[in-house]
Every structure is written in C-alpha cells, then in structure tokens.
C-alpha cells in the first residue's frame, strides 16, 4: 500500500480498518543470494539498497529479536555531517543527502527535521579547531557557519552566559543537521525492503557460520541452516562476537553509552546543541522531552545498562550549560552497546574470509550514518569494490597506518 494523503483520507472515513502491516514477517528459505545478519537500521538499509539500487532481490535480513530493538532504538537521533577528515566527510555528507530525500524515497515519514546542529566552543584553542573543521566542511561542499558569542546568545538565550566556569565564546553551526525519528527509520526501511521482496526474519539468532573449503557459505540459526553466496554482518555492538565465529579478532571493543530523556515540556530548544567544555549533547523531541547524552561509561560492557557516576556527570554537564533544566525530572535512561573501533571510525569491508563482509565499528555515530552505511555496504556486496565515499573504511587500515582518527586519541576506544 502506497501512503498518501488520499489513503489517509480514505482510511479516516472508513474507521482505519483497511491498514495493512507495513512489512512481511517472513519465514526463512533454505538459501539466498545475500544474508544480512542484523535487523537494525544498517542491516535493513543494506537490504533495501541491494534490492533497489543493485537489483539483488534474493536477500534475507536475520534478526535475533525484533527489528530495531538494538542500537537503532537506543540512540539520540542526531543526524549531521560535520566531520573533519577527508576520509570521513564525503561519506557523512552522502548520508546527509540521502536523509534529505529519504522520506520521498521510502514513502514513509521518518520525521527528518533539519533543525541545525550547534557545537559550542569555550576557548581560543577550541575555536581554532572549529574554524578548521568548518573550513574542511565547506571545502567538501558541506554547510558550516561560525557564530560568535552574541549570535549564539540571540539563538539560545537560555544558555549560561554570565557566570560559567568556561564561558561560551561561540559555536560552529551546521544548519542542515538535525534529528530524525529513529524507529520510523527502521520501519521505513523494513517496509520498503519488504516491498521489494526482501525477507525480514525475526527471532532468528545466528549461532554459527557455515564454512566450506575456506569460505563462508551460510549460517546456522535458531531456525535452522540458511545458505547464501554472501554473508553480510551488520550487528554493531556484537561485531566481535560474530567475527569470533569465523575465528577473527577485530580492532573493536564493546562499550556502553547511556542516553536520557526528560519529562515533556513546551518547545524550548530549537536545535541540537553540544557543550564543548564537557561532553553533553541535547535536543528536544517533537513530544517535548529533552533527549540528551554524554560520554561512554569508559570500560568494556555488554550490559545494555550503565552506571550512576556517569548519570551524575552527564546531568552536571547539562546543568553547567543550561542551569534552567535543574528542576526537570528524568523520565528514562538507558544504555546501548557501541562497537568502539580503535580509531573512532567505522569499517565497511570484506573480511579476510571469502564470502564474509563486515559493517562494523560505528562507535557512537552509527545512527546518522544509517542511509550511507546501507548504501555503501550494498555497493560492496553487489560490486565487490568499495563505494567511492567509503574507500577509507578498510579493515586493513590498522595494519597499514591509514587511520581515521578524528579526535587523535590513538588506540584507546574508551576515549573516542
């Protein structure tokens, strides 16, 4: 069913009894051309672009639980392309352009809202870094605007300008950045992929990879063996565990990142704001809750929940930035498991085993990358070569030294 104003009117007049399930909950067949492990945003986007752009229709997405219940449902929904490095920037800008046309492409309301992303700076050194980043963005055709203190004040008068320990000196604004509705992105891709013949198989946990003559030829699952010419892994958070089934060690550690939402209040914060003197980022959902997050807890974790000292630190950073939120009550907090790579950048590449492909290491920037990640992974699977904007995301860059370390932290995943 194609969604339109007409279908909405028709259903409104007939008691909304004609709506069909948006996508098919398929049972697995015995063999496919491509199996995508992981029914999150990245896996579903991969399946969609494989079918839509590259004409590969024999595709199954295997998900151990329900689609979109991992990190796709646990992020802070921010989309942006304000990256510095030439290996990263064109990829994220490609993603941003896909976001801009996503709803028309999928015929689904993903609530993409380009409300702007403002990174604040609080020192001369930080200003220099943001000027450099802004220039790098503009050289790559990305919009970037440097705001001085007064311009920030006009835009966000409620920030702490008077007595701050680290006074706001200005900010770097990407007007085209913003937020999207994370669940709708998952559902939209699932619906569009399913419509093109992709099988979305839920409650199907991959327990092992099937090897024949040194190559991967399928997977064993809780619903039986499924064969495929190519097996694509898009399970960020658990990449190391799936790779271990193939006997591989990855340059990745799994860490927990917490996020928070407050009770709903009237429209208050018009854009996404990041605090430069701590680590805090906040936006307001359309429902009115403030959605915010901060740093990783700092140690390996598969727990999907975090610890209290980080709750205190994130809330303290929020108070330092905008003291008015002090009386606001927290509604929920949760933790997501991040594939933290050794340089803070992702991997979209063939694994050293024939027939196995990796989409991993998204750190905590995976949500904004969803469309481009799916597109580039589909390109790799269909064409056997990297998409031109994802050429730097090689697995062997750690051996060759071509790292993509935006922050310059070195191989310490808990600091990226």
């Amino acid at each position: 069913m194609r969604y339109s104003l007409w279908t909405l009117l028709r259903e409104a007049c007939s008691g909304h009894r004609g709506w069909k399930p948006a996508w098919r909950d398929a049972s697995p067949k015995s063999a496919y051309e491509v199996i995508v492990i992981g029914g999150g945003g990245h896996g579903l986007a991969t399946a969609y672009y494989l079918a839509k752009v590259y004409g590969v229709r024999e595709v199954a997405v295997l998900e151990k639980g329900g689609i979109g219940l991992g990190n796709a449902g646990r992020n802070t929904t921010i989309i942006r392309s304000n990256y510095l490095l030439p290996g990263n920037n064109p990829f994220y800008e490609f993603s941003m352009r896909l976001w801009e046309g996503l709803e028309r492409d999928l015929n689904y309301n993903a609530m993409v809202s380009q409300r702007g992303v403002l990174n604040l700076f609080h020192s001369d050194a930080q200003r220099d870094a943001y000027v450099r980043r802004g220039n790098a963005m503009r050289l790559h055709g990305v919009d970037a605007e440097l705001l001085d203190r007064e311009a920030v004040r006009r835009m966000l008068p409620f920030l702490e300008f008077e007595t701050a320990r680290f006074p706001i000196q200005g900010g770097l604004l990407q007007c085209r950045g913003g937020t999207a509705r994370h669940d709708a992105v998952v559902w939209g891709y699932a619906r569009a992929a399913s419509g093109l013949g992709v099988d979305i198989v839920q409650n199907c946990e991959v327990t092992d990879l099937v090897r024949e003559g040194g190559r991967i030829v399928g997977v064993n699952t809780s619903r039986g063996e499924i064969r495929a010419r190519k097996v694509a892994v898009a399970v960020a958070g658990h990449s190391s565990r799936v790779a271990a089934m193939a006997g591989l060690r990855l340059p990745i550690e799994t860490h927990v990142l917490q996020a928070f939402v407050s009770e709903a209040v009237k429209p208050l914060i018009p854009c996404v704001v990041t605090f430069g003197a701590g680590h805090f980022y906040v936006s307001q959902s359309d429902k009115g809750g403030l959605v915010f997050g901060g740093d990783l807890d700092g140690y390996n974790s598969y727990a999907q929940r975090g610890n209290l000292p980080m709750v205190e630190e994130v809330c303290a950073s929020g108070m330092a930035l905008m003291p008015m939120i002090g009386r606001l009550r927290l509604l929920r907090s949760w933790g997501g498991m991040m594939d933290m790579s050794m340089d803070g950048s992702p991997i979209i590449d063939r694994a050293p085993l024939e027939g196995l492909y990796l989409n991993a290491g998204w750190c905590y920037g995976g949500f904004k990358a969803t469309p481009a990640s799916g597109y580039c992974f589909a390109h790799l699977l269909a064409r056997e070569e990297s998409h031109e904007v994802a050429r730097a995301f090689r697995l062997d860059r750690f051996a060759t030294g071509h790292l993509l370390d935006e922050k310059g932290q070195g191989p310490h995943p808990n600091l990226h």
Partner: protein, 89 residues
C-alpha cells in the same frame, strides 16, 4: 560497580580509571613478523561478552595499577590484583 583495591579496600567506581584490555606482554620488536605481532597487540581485541581481564588505575586512591577480572555482561568484579604481581599470569 565497586572495586576492591588490594591496598585501599573496596572503593567506588568513580575513584578509578579504566585503561582497557590487559592483553599480553609487549611483543618483541625484533625478528620476523614483528609488524604483525604489534598489530595484534596494539589494535586487535578478543572483546568477550563474559570474563574480561583489564587494567584499571586507582587515580583517586593509592595510585596503583590494578588488573581487574570482570564480567562484561553483569559488571561483576571477580578478582583484583596489583598489575605488577599479575604480570605473566
């Protein structure tokens, strides 16, 4: 999470900083395959969902480096030793 420092006793998580995977000893820089050995040691990780050995620094305490054995699924701390004494075990 609380960690029982062998010198200070049981203390709150916020006193400690985590360096990460305790790994093995630094590989030998000479000889065949040194690059591959360093790639393994510096960049590659087991990253288990379960028992994990890691190095922690008791920054707001005695300043000791500790080797903590911990379950990454439950945050349960199974053993804590001074890193110097735990080396090679």
């Amino acid at each position: 999470m609380r960690i029982a420092c062998p010198f200070c006793g049981e203390r709150d998580l916020s006193e400690f900083t985590c360096l990460g995977d305790a790994g093995g000893p630094r590989p030998a820089p000479e000889g065949e395959g040194a690059v591959a050995r360093f790639l393994e040691a510096v960049y590659l990780r087991d990253n288990p969902a379960g028992v994990h050995r890691e190095l922690w620094y008791h920054a707001s305490g005695c300043g000791s480096w500790l080797r903590v054995t911990r379950d990454t699924r439950t945050h349960e701390v199974l053993a804590v030793r001074f890193a110097r004494e735990a080396r090679g075990t």
